[in-house]
Symmetry: C2
């Protein structure tokens, strides 16, 4: 293994923290992970659990000589229940492979996002992954029936097995989901499966103003066809995609906002319902133009408008990413405050705004103005962030919707959690990882 490959096991997509470690191990099962952690415990060695390393928060970075425990060799199916529809796998299984294992068995695993080709299911659970269909299926938390974890003392805990209902004391499983490897290493998991949607239709629409987006979302509650996705982007984002991916514009007239909706449909009758929904929202003035994809190629283009944004702006521009969430009704006022902040202090900064708006989740990317150096830009962003986090706090939002805390947002966690909560979190960390060996320095500041 060359050095670059070796080091890649101790880093993620954040790219801002250079990895630095010497020991990389590839256990094959839970018992081996437990033995490794026990050894680390006895010898006071720190550990970074390593999955598919697709995170954006530095949660999988080993930069202080930690032992990196990679789960890439733990990718086996362990069990399957055909009646209930559940699948038990090792945590190192690549998410896309899990999708396939579910489909091969006549079921469907609904948690999906762009990095499923490399992300691990264990990492998805450790970061409580979301994705593009949260508005319908929820976060991954909802699909985890059972977990096997190895705590910071090398103890193996098995939570809940494969049952759905188990009201027997505190639900410890949920503590580990989203804990970013700081409370235990997830080694196995049992996932609930569902049925595959029959078919779907994508509706792309131009929306004249921000408040109409919210009204449009409200209207979807009455369509009586299941809504799988409700995504939004600004004209600015669409233009970047058109420039970068050479796709045609969506509609003859420009519009400040666009919304992509995906619906699950059974038959032509559902399709008719969608046409009549489109008519209604156009009549109400919530949508100025709209198009229901008539074939899969058109649907793909519509999705490209949304999913091509990250790529288009990252390659052609320098951007500072933020992944935030807000109550829907506070979004407009937050964005007005945010724009006012930028106008007054950083008049050259532009915002590329898009995201899973049905979930209250915005990807707010600040684009570097021409003429500013990268270093100067990032340094200015560093002073924008706390002001934005303050605005989020004011509007009851969160500084991290789905990317997690890791290293990147650790020092800002108090904008989303109170001192009392942080103290409880520290006590829980101490209970499960008394020597602070598991992913140290991530999520919480090292205890004083």
């Amino acid at each position: 293994m060359d050095t670059a490959t070796f080091l890649s096991f101790g880093t993620d997509r954040t790219k801002v923290y250079p990895p630095n470690f010497d020991i990389l191990v590839f256990p094959k099962n839970t018992k081996e992970v437990a033995q490794l952690v026990k050894f680390a415990y006895d010898n006071d060695l720190k550990i970074v659990p390593s999955g598919g390393r697709t995170g954006y928060a530095g949660g999988a970075v080993a930069r202080n000589g930690e032992i990196v425990i990679s789960l890439v060799k733990m990718d086996q199916v362990l069990d399957f229940d055909p009646f209930f529809g559940s699948l038990k796998v090792q945590a190192g299984m690549i998410t896309k492979n899990l999708h396939k294992e579910a489909e091969d068995r006549g079921f469907y695993f609904p948690v999906d996002f762009s990095s499923t080709g490399s992300s691990h299911i264990g990492g998805n659970i450790a970061t409580n992954a979301g994705g593009v269909r949260v508005v319908h299926y929820g976060l991954i938390r909802q699909w985890v029936l059972g977990l096997t974890v190895v705590t910071g003392t090398g103890e193996i805990l098995e939570f809940n097995g494969e049952i759905l209902k188990n009201n027997t004391g505190y639900d410890l499983k949920h503590l580990f989901i989203g804990s970013e490897g700081t409370l235990g290493i997830i080694t196995e998991c049992t996932l609930k499966l569902t049925s595959k949607p029959s078919d779907n239709r994508v509706l792309f629409s131009a929306v004249p103003d921000f408040s109409s987006i919210l009204e449009l979302f409200k209207e979807t509650h009455n369509v009586k066809v299941p809504l799988l996705a409700f995504e939004f982007l600004t004209r600015y984002c669409l233009e970047k995609v058109i420039d970068h991916l050479h796709v045609p514009d969506a509609f003859p007239e420009k519009s400040p906002y666009y919304v992509l909706m995906e619906f699950e449909i059974m038959d032509e009758r559902d399709e008719e319902k969608l046409f009549s929904f489109l008519e209604t929202v156009v009549e109400k003035g919530l949508v100025s133009d709209g198009s229901l994809a008539s074939n899969s190629r058109q649907a793909e283009t519509f999705w490209k408008y949304r999913e091509g944004i990250s790529e288009s702006i990252s390659i052609d521009y320098t951007v500072h990413k933020n992944d935030i969430s807000l109550p829907l009704r506070n979004m407009n006022s937050f964005l007005e405050d945010m724009q006012a902040l930028l106008n007054s202090k950083y008049p050259g900064f532009e915002i590329a705004l898009f995201g899973h708006i049905g979930d209250g989740n915005l990807h707010l990317n600040i684009v570097k103005p021409k003429g500013l150096s990268d270093a100067e830009f990032f340094s200015q962003c560093k002073s924008v962030d706390p002001s934005m986090f303050e605005l989020l706090q004011k509007h009851h939002g969160s500084i991290s919707a789905e990317h997690g805390i890791g290293l990147l947002k650790r020092d800002f966690l108090h904008f989303s959690r109170t001192d009392a909560e942080l103290e409880i979190m520290r006590q829980i960390k101490k209970t499960l990882d008394p020597k602070n060996l598991l992913n140290p320095g991530k999520v919480l500041l090292e205890s004083k």
Copy 2:
């Protein structure tokens, strides 16, 4: 207030633990609850939180002179978000009133069960309530966006507000859901709402053997009409309902098992799908006879077959209740082992078996044989329970599916949770309630 009414605030439906306390308080808001708990903390006084008192595990019993804090005066709507569809209420709101508040606002709160006319939403959350449509909507855990709790030191914690996505460290909210008032008093909650099902159809069916029930459940994954409920009962249960409620028999031929399915339908086409589903499962021999309710009266009768069981057997017979859960595929072997256990040791005992089988949840009620005194019967049941819990452990089941632990199953918790888990639970209890003042003796044994 007369003594009986007074005492009723410190007990629940278990009826086996006589209440014994002198102080009953009715705070009106979170701040007053916090002041009360702070006072109790400063003076080392124990507290029992009191909601609708519809529990079956003794979780709301005050039998050692505790202060009873009743939330009956905390029943106000606090906030509503029309875009996302969420409702914030005080925890003392009666569940049925919450249903109405949601419907008045054009939404639907889907957690439903027979005691919603008296249960409080806060108690539902504290016990992670389930009900008859868990197979479709999940447990209440899934519908809780935000929580306000008062911990054992009188501190007010507000978790998550009203946002859906918030990956900022450990999700403490889930610790309180299902903790039966031992970690904090839930005072306010923000609930996610959904859209009301358009219409539904009830299908009642006779099933020739137990394994066909599981196969039938598997078939429902392919109907392409949403399944809202999948409930089952034995012939024994049906006969008790027929005798007690004077309803007609379901079908001309007797059958050992019956399954009630409820589906959400949009139009006649969905209804056709159900008829064709029924045809398929009859052809496959999974169902020997079946009937799709043609009107709401017939649907009501079908539901009566299932919901009338508890009432019919409790009034006419003496029963010992158990609420257990199992992986679906292990159910048959567990039931065979259980029947063998009874046959060998308690040949006169009969089992009334019914429940939410789509969730793996069985209500296993042992019916007292004629000739045995109540005292003798319950004493024998006390020795059956541990043997049954051992069988559950062997078959990866849980000793409490939805009723919780309370006092009733506290001493058996080790059948469902390991020593390591119990120790973690104790540490968490100590962190949130350092003086062990909140609902002491429930769920966990008092710390040694």
